[in-house]
Structure formats: structure tokens, C-alpha cells
Symmetry: C2
Subunit: 198 residues, 2 copies
């Protein structure tokens, strides 16, 4: 991939020549996918081309050959990171929503982004476990508690929070709109080209 951006007049400044990946990590049910969708929708209304890579979606396609062992999870994270790099280097704003429970896997993705000259923004969606479990949008916590499922992150598989995320999103009790605003403000302060000053 060489950096390629849509070149329509007035569009190029809305795209990040060096590329950006915004990576949402957190427990299942933390709100990552919902926040990612809302952020992409907002950016697209401002004319920024986005790609949303969602962990569940990837599991149905690219990562359909992987299991939920430590190795399978690591490889899923590695692949998501590499796809993000390809897309970001095309000038797209990439949002990844993926549990990505292991610190070392996220650090490896961050290192690869640095090697490829792509900005990497790690965002921890830090919704507490009790809240995630009460929401349980996919019924995963219930299945894990009943024993119908093993290896559930947060229940019988570990989640290692980022030690120094670029941003921690306190998603509990906030509207999605206000969380998107927090993300946009962070990207603006960071000087991310994909986010125009309004």
C-alpha cells in the first residue's frame, strides 16, 4: 500500500495522509462497537472516509479460522492491526473495536503502526464489569456464568487494561453522542487530519 487518498477538491484535507487507527479496547459489552459506529457516522457526515473493523465481524470472515485460545486471540489482534495499517495508509480513518484483552498484543500492534508510520490511538472503554454484565447485549455473560461457554473475557479469561492509554472513555452513564464528542476533541488536540476544525 502506498498512501492513496481520494483527491476530489475539498476532500484531501479531510483525510489523513499518514493515516490514523483509533483502537477501542475493553470488556465485552463495554460499548466499543456502538461508539465506533457513532464516531464513523459523525466523521463521514463531515466528509471523512472511514473504515470500521469490528471484532465480531472479523470473526465471521478474516478471522473465521481462529479460536478463542490465547494464540487465537493474539492472531486475531495481529490481523486486525495489519488490516488497519493497510486501510490507514490508504488515507482512511480506521476505527477498530475489538476486546483485544492482552496488553502485549496491543503493544505489538502499536509497534507495527509506528514502523509503518501510521498514528495509533489507544482508547480504553473502561466500563466496569458489573455494568457490562448487566447490559450483556449478546447474552455472553449469561452463557459464561451458566457454564455453556468457556474462555469468556472478564469471566474466566483475563482482561488486561492499558497501563497508559491515549484516552480512557468512561462510557457508563454517558450518551453515545457525548462520548463521540470526547473522542473528536482528543483527535482535534492530537492534530489528526481526518478531523476538521469545525
Amino acid at each position: 500500500m502506498t498512501g492513496r487518498v481520494p483527491l476530489a477538491p475539498g476532500f484531501s484535507q479531510r483525510l489523513d495522509a499518514t493515516g490514523t487507527t483509533l483502537w477501542l479496547t475493553g470488556l465485552p459489552g463495554a460499548g466499543k462497537s456502538t461508539i465506533a459506529e457513532a464516531l464513523c457516522a459523525h466523521l463521514e457526515q463531515m466528509g471523512t472516509a472511514c473504515v470500521h473493523l469490528d471484532g465480531d465481524d472479523l470473526r465471521r470472515g478474516l478471522n473465521s479460522d481462529l479460536d478463542f485460545t490465547r494464540e487465537g486471540r493474539s492472531e486475531a489482534v495481529r490481523r486486525a492491526g495489519e488490516v488497519a495499517i493497510v486501510a490507514a495508509r490508504s488515507g482512511l480513518f480506521v476505527v477498530v473495536s475489538l476486546v483485544s484483552p492482552f496488553r502485549s498484543d496491543r503493544i505489538a500492534v502499536q509497534r507495527r503502526h509506528a514502523e509503518e508510520g501510521v498514528d495509533f490511538v489507544e482508547v480504553w472503554v473502561s466500563t466496569p464489569m458489573e455494568v457490562c454484565e448487566a447490559r450483556d447485549p449478546k447474552g455472553l455473560y449469561a452463557r459464561a456464568r451458566s457454564g455453556a461457554m468457556v474462555g469468556m473475557t472478564g469471566v474466566d479469561d483475563p482482561y488486561e487494561p492499558p497501563e497508559s492509554p491515549d484516552l480512557e472513555l468512561f462510557a457508563d452513564g454517558c450518551s453515545v453522542g457525548s462520548l463521540v464528542r470526547v473522542l473528536l476533541d482528543h483527535l482535534l488536540l492530537r492534530g489528526t487530519a481526518a478531523v476538521p476544525v469545525e
Copy 2:
């Protein structure tokens, strides 16, 4: 991935809501990457957001864990196909340049595109082996002939041409510009939304 397209005024009609993958298959040195780059550059000048997935590039990232055995090649093709689906479903015009030597692998990718409702255009860049070998842009044929490399498609590994490609590109002796024109005409006739009538 749900269909997401940049929504700037005047832009949406230049993007294909259902997504399109244009897949260039052919021998090493056939001209696939050069044609892909030129097509993307042209489409982007018309305001269409493109992603170019190149086999060599992917081998340095997403597919860096794969070898060049039958299985490694199949998996490389499968992954490129799945990434193309994700990108195309985001409304991007995706161009893949990949030797993809085995018919059954390409058919599997085509089937996955159909399942996901993404248009798949198979283009055979049918440059004859002698021409590819005379060009030898990466010195691969020389290395394979000298025995320094084994498993080279076209030399000691098979290439299975498409039986009924959507388009066969006779790239030998044609300018890149004229090949891009042939591709654009085909896409126009096909009604691909990413290609506006000029």
C-alpha cells in the same frame, strides 16, 4: 461492517453502496500491480475512494506468517478476499493484485463475495510467461531458474488461468493508460457505481 460511505455532497454517487472488488490475477511480472496503481490513481482523480491490496505488500504484514506452499497460498488468497469484502462493504472500490494461482481459491473468494453481496470482478492479466520472464521486475524468474528459489509460480509451481474471467487484459504491448481505459469501460458497462459516466 455495515455499508458506510463518505457522505460529503457530490461524493456519495461516486461510491458503490454495495461495494466492488476488482481482482487482478496473473503470473508474476504480468503487470498486475502497475495496472492496479494506475486504475486507483485514475478513479481517485474522479473522486472515488479506493483501496489497493497488493500481494507483495500483504506478505509483509497481514500474511507475513504464511509460506508459499499450496496451503499458504490458499490462505493468503482467502485473507485478501476477506479484507476486500470488509473494505468494499464500507463503500470503497477495492483493487486486489495478487498472483492467486489456483482456480479453486479464486472461486472460493468469488463465492464469499456473493454471500456478502459484494460485486466481484475477476480480471485475468494474461501476459505470456516469456514476456513476464523477460521483464522480471523483481528478479524472481532469474532466481527460480538458477535454483536459488523454489516454488515460483510459472516456473516450478502451477498457474491455473481463469476459465471464464469477467475480463482478460492483454497487457503485452499496451500502455498502462489504455489498459486502465479498458477496465473503466468494462466497469461502466457493468454499471459499477464507483465509475461515473464522464
